[in-house]
């Protein structure tokens, strides 16, 4: 993987542009305000893109790409680089033709258009969305040498939409209605069972992310938001909600998204995302370029609420220090952490460990494997180790 960011920054400056000289851009006019009605990043940031791993899947339509978290700052993910996970490609829906159907154990089955949806009261909230398979390729050992690939099935945006309970109030859930089926309008007909309790708690039907309408690849024009729960359940291009009295045990919650243990039994309905953190710099894509002071930066999150503490180690987990958690720290939202780190040119083993407000502590890979074995695929929230070698290069390693 190209060491694009820091390597580029390490390139030689043109002396004509440095003081005392006055560079051309301080003399001549740039583009006017009519040049870019919808703007894009600087050409110097062309390396900040989603990437996919060809060998992971049979086709790109049923596949995943990864958020370039090594190049991001703060906890908002720009819409252009929010990772994608499709089971039938990016569904293209014209909002004029869009309809949401609600049926099943309800007093009045109903159909809503986007115009209807926009006339309900809304809320706007920041939530992380993590695929349950994030870090799933690392159960058996350190495999992918880049934080984009090991931890990039995550993003965090401000969603705006209608609380799901408000919509359910419009159809009247019958007393025996205890489960929902959420079903997508894509060609995989993506569908998941959701307990009514979650639907009435903090679920929402969102039409916007980071201020603008959802991107097509993230469910335009309407998707389900289930704060803190695995991304697969956040049904995109949602076309239908059915109320039932039992779960459906759909293909995505049986064949997939069940967690196989060492004894051959599998956990099902593993919805919550456990607390997790990762250092996004230094990381394999972002080597340490200088001796002396450096910043460790990273992201932490928990599906159970707020992050309370993040600990950082430079010696492979023997000794830990508290990282800074700059404001604001929001529940079920990515949380930034920082820690200073003096590098003297020796080998260093970097780790981070998140603790959430419930007291849950991000476990080591050994602790996870003891309970779960290595066949789980999903919910690998173990502590990640980066080895910084004497030249400052960073590698994904497994300790034991």
């Amino acid at each position: 993987l190209g060491k694009s960011g820091p390597a580029a920054a390490a390139a030689e400056a043109d002396p004509a542009h440095l003081p005392p000289n006055v560079p051309w851009w301080t003399q001549y006019l740039g583009d006017g305000v009519a040049a870019r009605p919808y703007g894009l990043p600087s050409p110097h940031e062309a390396h900040v893109v989603r990437r996919n791993v060809e060998w992971l899947t049979a086709t790109t339509e049923s596949s995943v790409n990864f958020t370039p978290i090594q190049d991001l700052h703060g906890f908002v993910t720009p819409n252009g680089v929010c990772f994608e996970r499709h089971h039938g490609g990016t569904t293209e829906v014209n909002p004029v033709d869009y309809r949401l159907m609600i049926n099943g154990l309800v007093d009045t089955p109903k159909i809503f258009s986007m115009e209807d949806i926009f006339r309900f009261p809304v809320e706007s909230r920041f939530y992380f969305l993590e695929c349950a398979a994030n870090t799933g390729m690392e159960w058996r050992g350190a495999q992918l040498n880049g934080v984009q690939f090991t931890h990039g099935m995550i993003h965090c945006v401000q969603y705006t939409g209608v609380p799901l309970r408000v919509i359910l109030d419009q159809v009247g859930v019958k007393p025996n209605g205890t489960w929902l089926l959420a079903e997508g309008g894509d060609s995989s007909g993506m569908h998941r069972s959701v307990p009514l309790e979650k639907a009435l708690d903090d679920a929402m039907l969102a039409f916007a992310m980071n201020g603008e309408m959802l991107r097509p690849e993230n469910g335009y024009p309407l998707r389900l938001v289930l704060p803190g729960w695995e991304g697969n359940m956040w049904v995109k291009w949602i076309r239908r909600i059915e109320v039932g009295d039992q779960p459906w045990h759909t293909r995505e919650e049986t064949s997939k998204y069940t967690d196989l243990l060492a004894n051959g039994k599998a956990r099902f309905f593993t919805w919550e995302m456990d607390a997790k953190s990762v250092i996004t710099g230094p990381c394999p894509e972002k080597p340490v370029l200088h001796k002396g002071v450096n910043q460790i930066k990273g992201l932490a999150w928990s599906g159970r609420g707020r992050i309370k503490e993040v600990h950082v180690s430079t010696d492979g987990g023997r000794n830990w220090m508290q990282a800074r958690l700059p404001d604001p720290v929001l529940p079920k939202c990515l949380t930034c952490f920082n820690a200073e780190f003096e590098w003297n040119g020796e080998e260093v083993l970097l780790q981070s460990r998140a603790v959430d407000e419930t007291g849950y502590v991000q476990p080591t890979m050994q602790a996870l494997q003891e309970v779960r074995g290595v066949n789980s695929i999903y919910h690998n929230n173990s502590i990640q180790t980066w080895l910084v070698n004497k030249t400052g290069e960073v590698e994904n390693v497994r300790l034991g």
Partner: protein, 200 residues
């Protein structure tokens, strides 16, 4: 939040039974929702060979990285678990429901109900769930098929793997490097690499 609970907004409109019928395609484990229709493994085999085998293989072995649909018996506790409808799936309804809504890949919802019953029966037959290749699978009996791994699932019992105390210094952990991603070299980096261990 300060929204009035239960407030009626008089938005949207009632869905007609006909409208619902076109979209309400889900099937529950007990067969609830299964559309009227039927099919046998023998009928299913023909359809499978023309419409499915190009991706899933003539014997359900899965071409390339497409899903394997046959076998995997007794592999779940091994180092190479193979999860198929036969070895893993707890309900036959899921197979009907999924083929009906999503297969063939890229031509979803083009099969008739009878075709889907036949394909489901065929896949159950090659996986030894059905032993009669003329078994008539239908909306009447799909909720009653017993799948081999029906008892293979346990409810989520997390949180798990928690330390007894949160150690902050002189912690007793192994810090030897026992695996290195750079040596495996499966990371896409523009200069070629072998394939790694996928999720399937």
């Amino acid at each position: 939040d300060d929204l009035e609970p239960g407030k009626q907004y008089d938005l949207g409109r009632a869905a007609t039974a006909e409208e619902i019928a076109g979209w309400d395609i889900d099937v529950m484990p007990d067969g609830t929702g299964a559309p009227v229709g039927q099919g046998t493994p023998i009928e299913g085999e023909d359809i499978y060979l023309t419409q499915c085998a190009s991706c899933h293989g003539e014997f359900g072995e899965g071409m390339d990285r497409y899903p394997v649909l046959f076998g995997g018996e007794d592999t779940l506790a091994s180092h190479n678990p193979v999860k198929t409808p036969g070895s893993y799936w707890p309900y036959a309804s899921t197979l009907f429901d999924y083929i009906h809504r999503a297969m063939p890949f890229g031509q979803a919802q083009t099969l008739t109900n009878d075709q889907v019953y036949a394909l489901t029966a065929f896949l159950l037959y090659i996986n030894f769930v059905l032993d009669d290749d003329a078994f008539v699978l239908s909306n009447e009996n799909i909720g009653e098929i017993e799948m081999p791994n029906r008892d293979g699932f346990i409810p989520d019992d997390r949180p798990d793997a928690q330390p007894e105390t949160v150690c902050m210094s002189d912690c007793d952990v192994g810090t030897e490097v026992i695996g290195r991603a750079a040596i495996i070299d499966v990371t896409p980096d523009g200069d070629g690499q072998p394939e790694g261990i996928s999720l399937e």
